[in-house]
């Protein structure tokens, strides 16, 4: 089929560049400059989709973002599928592949349409809520069928090959919309030196001027557009963003602009060599001032069968003719309430097609365009409207009658006019969506029959967006708005003179208010009069909702689903409100305002995600020894953002060790010889100041007054609710100098915690904190041979009397200055070697060179956990959960009850609940069956024979098999556990087994601490 509706001349398309595309599998041809919608119309395609609920055939209605019907599936490969593309906003490109989203077996011959016709009457709004309830057991089956009919397009099932970009922008003035008002505002601001961003959602800038009949400075308006854009493009304080939709307007003038970088070229971003563009780019703009120049959307009239293909917006008809050289039919009837709509008839006539009649709801239309139509001899039928469209798959006629809009009745005979196209215009709604995003309510204005933006700090609305429509007023409004915004941004805006172009003023007559057109039958019985085409919401549906008591517009919308489509009710919401208002005998503003939410038009998840996906989803933090771990084949555990070696599986006889095997081997190596752990991820904070010691005493539960230089102490940190928050060792480096360590996950939080208390409560204390986590690499050498190994590499005196447990010393290790701490998280003799991280690899490899003869074994976090658990040492976050006090842990030895300052957490320990003796307390559990390793998280009961719900008294926090002890063991919290040593508890498991265990001390190995003290 050739382009039957393509006019022989005109439009802004490039007829020298043919583009091939397919729709529903059939090949077609269009031109560069076409949208998919204009190309479909040019090719005479009437039915582009089937409706969601009733499966009615649907055609293209609009030419822009408000299009509800032409929602298509794009993409030539599985990975590049794009669901729910609005054909009116998709530029045509060579090879474009599109399909309708609904219709089975196809959109032309749709079987669901039969069902829709039959069952439509049984599916009023809310019908779901009134049925499918019996029998209850069948609901999931009913729902399966309901779900089958869900959705428009489909998600791709393969990952996206494209990438997406974010860019952060800052400007003095952001102008949204590059129509006459926006261009005027932008050029005014730019000439006055403001940093300006001008964006527009369309393929080219110019807005309404691209299909305007009007003259500016005595030449076609588009020439003025070109001049202004050329000027803006030459200024380095201006960023021009065509194909860029402002989709969200957030607090304090933060606006997201979605730039479609390559979507007009192909369904995947083209690449040149290794350089590949992003498919789209999100500009995250912080604007001092925003100018909203988004124009207005035309409202269709709501008449019977207004959804049959061939019913279009009047303005869309003009756009298709003047911009794309497409006349979507032969014989037009225009139903209008205003002068501006007459353009459609004039354009239609100039395209050489027949205008059957203009049906005007007004008694005496008078403006310049009306006069022009009269001059051309176009019949004008006044005080009338199209009350019903005829035709099934394409309009075949229009039923026209005199109407009484105030009484909502048909007032005269019905006449049927043969035609194939009905254009309608019920007036214009300013595009106020973005201002609504900020939470401000729009205001209804009776004079323009529309809502205008409410007041937003830093926002100026200009032109159609605030109901200013005549072109000369619009441009002047844009200039004023641009000047205002520039001044509000703190710049001088008086530099501009002589900008105002000459526009021949056009006289427009007053419009009249008409939303739903009365029909001979009441709404409930008339053929369907659609309000929201995408969601199949009808005037009758809205009337029913109000009858059932849904009186707020929010209720009506939710009950009928009006405005919940992908067009967010751009076409239908005001009409719907007007209908609800009529039914409730209220005014439109009394029924409610309409609230729009981001996005203005839908945006892909990918664009919002940007580069924060795949390898860059979240930082991976590495220690200085990471390369070594990788080369040794370590398995890693995620601890916060860190990658920590979990265990180091070896390959024995060609078989890789399991976790269990590797951990058993690593544990024994530490207990019997010597192992080494990369502990660099521990948080480390350097603390200096005369009051450092006092400060430590306030944030830790235990005492710090007497810790001497050269000594190390373990400390517990609570919140003021008495619950344990973090733990670690702190070393006294000098009288006024300490090095605090924190848990890996708690590092940042503790640092902020210290600053919080210092800055807000105790600024009088002389102390400074500096994070040194990344500066130091930490290697823990531990096991009976640790001293022997270290002695080979260090100049520090390791004599057990000279360098005791909980001492630290400085010296060199492998020639590198090091601080060595004799602290133990394994219960074995242990040295924590700290060196500047740049030299960590040197020291580590030197240790291994010397360690070979001791079978020095690297171990990971899992072995570390087993070894510490054998010693009953807690891990904050594993053995505690924010509801555990130091007393619950049995760590009274680490609580300075008599410290003079009431340290953080102390007071809370004496609350009635924290004083309870039956709190869950930290204990060891020894399974009765030595082969059993209890499940971590297993719940504990005293009485295994009770019925469900059982009374649970605690749970297992840590549990392992101990290769050293030769049996499983666990740490747990149990109600009153400290007083229940030796008692038996039960752990009923999911598989029905009930384990028995004895409550024991949490210290399973070397309770006197002799091994670490050698």
């Amino acid at each position: 089929m050739s382009q039957v509706n393509r006019l022989s001349q005109g439009g802004r398309i490039d007829r020298s560049r043919q583009l091939h595309f397919t729709f529903n599998g059939k090949p077609y041809v269009g031109y560069a400059g076409d949208t998919l919608a204009s190309a479909l119309l040019a090719n005479g395609i009437d039915i582009v989709n089937r409706s969601f609920k009733y499966s009615r055939p649907r055609g293209i209605v609009a030419a822009g973002a408000e299009e509800p019907n032409a929602i298509v599936q794009l993409g030539s490969s599985e990975a590049t599928q794009v669901p729910n593309v609005r054909a009116t906003q998709q530029a045509l490109y060579e090879g474009l592949t599109a399909r309708s989203t609904n219709g089975w077996p196809n959109v032309q011959r749709d079987l669901m349409g039969m069902v829709g016709k039959l069952s439509g009457t049984f599916m009023p709004p809310g019908f779901y809520y009134k049925t499918f309830m019996a029998p209850a057991s069948l609901w999931m089956t009913y729902e399966k069928y309901i779900r089958k009919s869900a959705g428009l397009g489909r998600s791709p099932t393969e990952p996206d090959p494209d990438s997406y970009d974010h860019i952060n922008q800052h400007c003095d003035v952001l102008v949204i919309g590059a129509g006459p008002a926006g261009l005027a505002a932008a050029v005014t601001a730019a000439r006055n030196g403001a940093r300006v961003i001008l964006c527009d959602e369309q393929e080219e800038m110019g807005g309404s001027l691209l299909d305007s009949r009007e003259l500016i400075d005595d030449s076609p308006a588009v020439q003025w557009v070109d001049r202004v854009i050329d000027e803006l493009a030459a200024m380095d304080n201006v960023t021009l963003l065509p194909r860029t939709t402002a989709n969200g307007y957030h607090d304090h003038n933060f606006v997201t602009l979605h730039e479609r970088c390559t979507e007009h070229l192909a369904d995947s971003a083209p690449a040149s060599g290794s350089r590949r563009q992003a498919r789209s780019r999100m500009h995250r703009v912080r604007a001092s001032q925003v100018v909203l120049a988004t124009g207005a959307h035309e409202r269709p009239l709501v008449y019977a069968n207004n959804d049959v293909p061939g019913n279009l917006l009047a303005g869309a008809v003009s756009t298709y003719i003047r911009r794309y050289g497409v006349a979507p039919g032969q014989k037009l009837v225009l139903s209008a309430t205003n002068d501006h709509a007459y353009r459609a008839a004039l354009d239609w006539r100039e395209a050489g097609r027949e205008v059957v009649a203009i049906v005007d709801a007004r008694a005496n239309p008078q403006g310049d365009l009306v006069a022009k139509a009269r001059t051309l001899g176009i019949p004008i039928i006044t005080e009338s409207a199209v009350i019903e469209a005829k035709g099934a798959e394409r309009v075949s006629g229009a039923r026209v009658a005199k109407i009484d809009a105030t009484r909502f009745t048909v007032a005269g005979e019905v006449e049927e006019l043969a035609c194939d196209t009905i254009a309608s215009s019920g007036g214009y709604s300013p595009v106020i969506h973005l201002s609504s995003h900020t939470g401000t309510r729009p205001t209804w204005r009776d004079d323009i029959l529309g809502f205008v933006p409410g007041e937003v700090k830093g926002l100026t609305s200009v032109g159609g967006a605030r109901g200013v429509y005549p072109l000369d007023d619009v441009i002047r409004d844009g200039i004023d708005g641009g000047r205002q915004a520039t001044q509000a941004a703190g710049l001088d805006a008086n530099a501009v003179t002589g900008l105002v172009p000459q526009v021949s003023a056009r006289e427009d007559g007053a419009a009249c208010a008409l939303y739903q057109v009365p029909h001979l039958k009441p709404s409930m019985r008339a053929p369907k009069q659609f309000v929201d085409l995408q969601n199949d919401v009808t005037a009758a549906g809205i009337e029913l909702a109000t009858r059932e008591g849904f009186e707020s517009i929010e209720h009506v919308k939710r009950y009928t689903a009006m405005g919940f489509g992908t067009d967010q009710g751009k076409l239908g919401n005001i009409n719907g409100m007007a209908i609800a208002a009529r039914c409730l005998h209220r005014s439109i503003p009394e029924v409610g305002t309409t609230v729009f939410r981001p996005n203005y038009t839908p945006v892909t998840f990918g664009a919002i995600v940007g580069r924060h996906c795949r390898d860059l989803f979240d930082p991976e933090r590495y220690t200085a020894l990471h390369q070594w771990h990788v080369e040794q084949g370590a398995e890693f555990e995620d601890v916060g953002q860190w990658k920590r070696p979990w265990y180091f599986p070896r390959t024995v006889n060609g078989k890789k060790e399991t976790l269990h095997e590797a951990v058993a081997r690593e544990c024994l190596a530490v207990r019997e010889r010597v192992g080494i752990l990369d502990a660099s991820t521990l948080g480390k904070i350097d603390i200096q100041g005369a009051d450092a010691r006092e400060f430590l005493g306030r944030v830790y539960t235990n005492k710090w007054a007497k810790l001497a230089p050269g000594r190390v102490r373990y400390g517990l940190m609570c919140k003021d609710d008495g619950m344990l928050m973090d733990d670690g060792t702190t070393s006294c480096l000098g009288e006024n100098h300490f090095l605090m360590t924190t848990t890996t996950g708690g590092a940042a939080g503790v640092m902020e915690w210290l600053e919080l208390w210092h800055q807000t409560e105790w600024p009088e204390l002389d102390v400074y904190f500096t994070s040194v986590t990344d500066h130091w690499a930490t290697m823990t050498v531990t096991g009976p041979d640790a001293r022997k190994l270290l002695a080979e590499l260090t100049d520090i005196d390791l004599d057990k009397e000279q360098f005791k447990f909980m001492d630290w010393r400085e010296g060199t290790v492998a020639g590198v200055p090091a601080r060595v701490f004799r602290i133990s998280f394994t219960g074995e003799l242990a040295y924590e070697i700290n060196v500047q991280a740049n030299y960590a690899m040197h020291v580590w490899t030197a240790l291994f060179k010397h360690g070979e003869k001791y079978d020095l074994t690297p171990y990971g976090t899992e072995t570390m956990h087993v070894l510490r658990a054998e010693k009953g040492l807690i891990i904050v976050g594993q053995d505690t959960d924010g509801s555990v006090t130091p007393e619950d842990l049995g760590m009274q030895w680490a609580i300075g009850y008599d410290k003079p300052y009431s340290w953080i957490g102390k007071r809370a320990l004496s609350r009635s609940d924290t004083r309870r003796t039956d709190r869950k307390q930290f204990v060891g559990l020894k399974p009765k069956d030595p082969k059993v390793v209890l499940e971590e998280g297993a719940q504990i009961v005293f009485d295994p024979n009770q019925s469900i719900p059982m009374s649970m008294v605690g749970h297992v926090t840590s549990s392992y098999y101990s290769p050293t002890l030769g049996h499983g063991f666990a740490l747990a919290v149990v109600k009153g556990g400290h007083e229940r040593m030796g008692e038996t508890v039960y752990l009923p498991m999911v598989d029905g087994k009930v384990h028995e265990a004895e409550i024991v001390s949490p210290v399973f190995l070397d309770p006197k601490g002799e091994r670490q003290n050698v």
Binding site: D165, D615, L616, N736, H737, D766, D774, H775, A814
Partner: protein, 211 residues
Amino acid sequence: MSDVKEFDTRPAGSPSAESPLAWSFHRRGTPPREAGAGVTLREKAFLGHMVLRGGAIVLDEAVREVLGITLPARPNTLALDDSGERSIQWLSPDEWLVIVPGGEEFALEGRLREVLGQAHYSIVNVSGGQTVLTLRGEKARETLMKSTPYDVHPQAFPVGKGVTTVFAKATVILRRPTEDTWELVLRRSFADYCYRWLLDAAAEYGVTVER
């Protein structure tokens, strides 16, 4: 502050050292040299980094005496010595970052402590914990715009400015010591992430890494 334990963490001999980006270079190599690359990256490894905390007036005197640089007292500013090799950057009202050629830091700390005497201040060597990455090229600014919400327009970010800010999902110190150079001070453990981010973000402009 006296009674503080100074410690020179730099070895006397010359054991091999690895910068925070060593693993990144090892794993990914560096992108092949490309004609007309829009962005050029270069690591300035193994410099001396120190965090100075204290009152501005106290520190200013000492810094001028020892380093010959006036302490930048205005927020978000950066001061360099004549050679451009030594710098002090405002980080907060009581915190400055000093970067000097590698090896100078310990002696500098000693001299500062001598001058500062009993005043309340702290000096902490963080040389192992961070590294400097420079960005140059026609598209350096645009690459930064993709990465940080901070305004890097020349009007908002003149030469001599330095800020701590968000970089992708990490924190960096971003500074502009000269007209055509941006410096990122990266934390060691985040360096690989930032480096990978930069390569990805600048890929469309072409990126060269100088070693």
